[in-house]
Amino acid sequence: MKKKILVIACGAIARELVRVSRLNEWQHIEFQCLPPELHNRPEQIPAAVRAKIKSQAGDFEKTFVAYADCGTGGELDKVLDEFGIERIAGAHCYEFYAGSNNFKALANDEPGSFYLTDFLVRHFDRLVIKGLAMDRLPQLIPVYFGNYQRLVYLAQTGSQELQGLAKQYAEFLQLEYCYKFFGDDPLSECLKPALENQA
């Protein structure tokens, strides 16, 4: 019988985590998500994770954090070091959705790439368009995206509906559209070492 593991996760990857967890039959894991809005306010992530660890981790044999550095500039790692807790390796979710090497190749290929994931396509309107006020102030679109050449959709499910939306968003931003299907494997591979190797 495996011990119970607590996974404190970014709300922006909740669906994917649940799917990966089902696929791998991880019944020993409990996910607890923090609000996805923290994505645009990374300075608030370390404190939110700390609070969660303090209030919940005591009830579990082990805790894992399903965040990358996510723009905290090492501050999240300081919190995790204090408690001896691991997180997903890498800089941000775009990296772990594509796999590090694939992501680096894409970024090298065209530095002016803006990345979408299933989550970001689903919430593009709220998080990107409204989040950066491009609906209220369309004159800001070129200020934000003037340096960008293409929109790269790093897809998890391959949903036709999401692909249609992603294409629309590329048009809206006047960027070339590029579709890369990676599925759930890269994320699953990131999590396996921490969640399956039980001492």
Binding site: G73, P111, L132, Y144, N147
Partner: protein, 230 residues
């Protein structure tokens, strides 16, 4: 000339100087570029020097915005609208300032590091440094060590500024500074670094002269370090 009417029917040209400057601070806060251009022109027509208009009406107004951005009262779009309004004022002042032939306080080359194309923070710092009397050469985004060093040498800059917003690109600042050391030019320049994920400790660890958390701090640090170096 036609007077512009605001929501509350404020006629800028009828306001006394101090109220006009206050109104311009409000208009900057609200990102109203036309009103800022108008106010700037009125003050110049009333005989204000361009540098006084710049300092009291524009730079002091942007400082208020900087504080509210830092405290989370304003977010990125509002800052961009304010910066745009300030630019409208600056475009009137710049030709006058260059005519008067005042020597710049110093020269700064600024760019975003290799692999990174975030440029809002860099642009804002560049603008505020110009506002403080520096000549700013913006070399753009995705800048490698060779380009930084070549630009600093070409323009005989006093200050080299690097911006990074990604945790994957901030370590490149160390590459640039190490290359400067290797080539024996590190001490020819004051190196300032900034960007949201950086901190004081990081600035020290890469060997920068200062980490600056915002544009106002950058101006203060640049002035202090220039004074210390001379």
């Amino acid at each position: 000339m036609t007077d512009e009417y605001k929501d509350e029917d404020i006629i800028l040209s009828e306001l006394p100087d101090n109220e006009l400057v206050e109104q311009m601070h409000d208009d900057l806060y609200d990102g109203l570029a036309d009103e800022i251009a108008e106010g700037t022109q009125i003050l110049i027509d009333r005989g204000w020097s361009a540098s006084r208009v710049l300092k009291e009406a524009l730079v002091d107004g942007m400082a208020i915005i900087g504080v509210d951005f830092r405290d989370g009262v304003l977010f990125v779009p509002e800052v961009l609208m304010a910066a745009n309004a300030m630019k409208a004022g600056m475009s009137i002042l710049k030709p006058i300032l260059s005519e008067t032939g005042i020597e710049p306080v110093g020269k700064m080359v600024i760019g975003t590091v290799k692999g990174d194309i975030h440029d809002i923070g860099k642009n804002l710092v560049g603008m505020m440094m110009e506002g403080a009397g520096f000549e700013v050469i913006d070399i753009g985004i995705n800048i490698d060590a060779d380009t930084y060093i070549a630009a600093a040498q070409e323009h005989q800059a006093n200050i080299l500024g690097m911006s990074a917003l990604l945790t994957t690109t901030m370590p490149y600042m160390k590459v640039v500074i190490d290359t400067m050391v290797e080539r024996g030019v590190r001490d020819d320049y004051i190196v300032l670094v900034g960007g949201a994920p950086l901190n004081e400790e990081f600035g020290e660890s890469v060997g920068a002269d200062a980490y600056c958390r915002d544009a106002a701090t950058a101006v203060d640090a640049a002035k202090a370090l220039m004074a210390a170096a001379s």
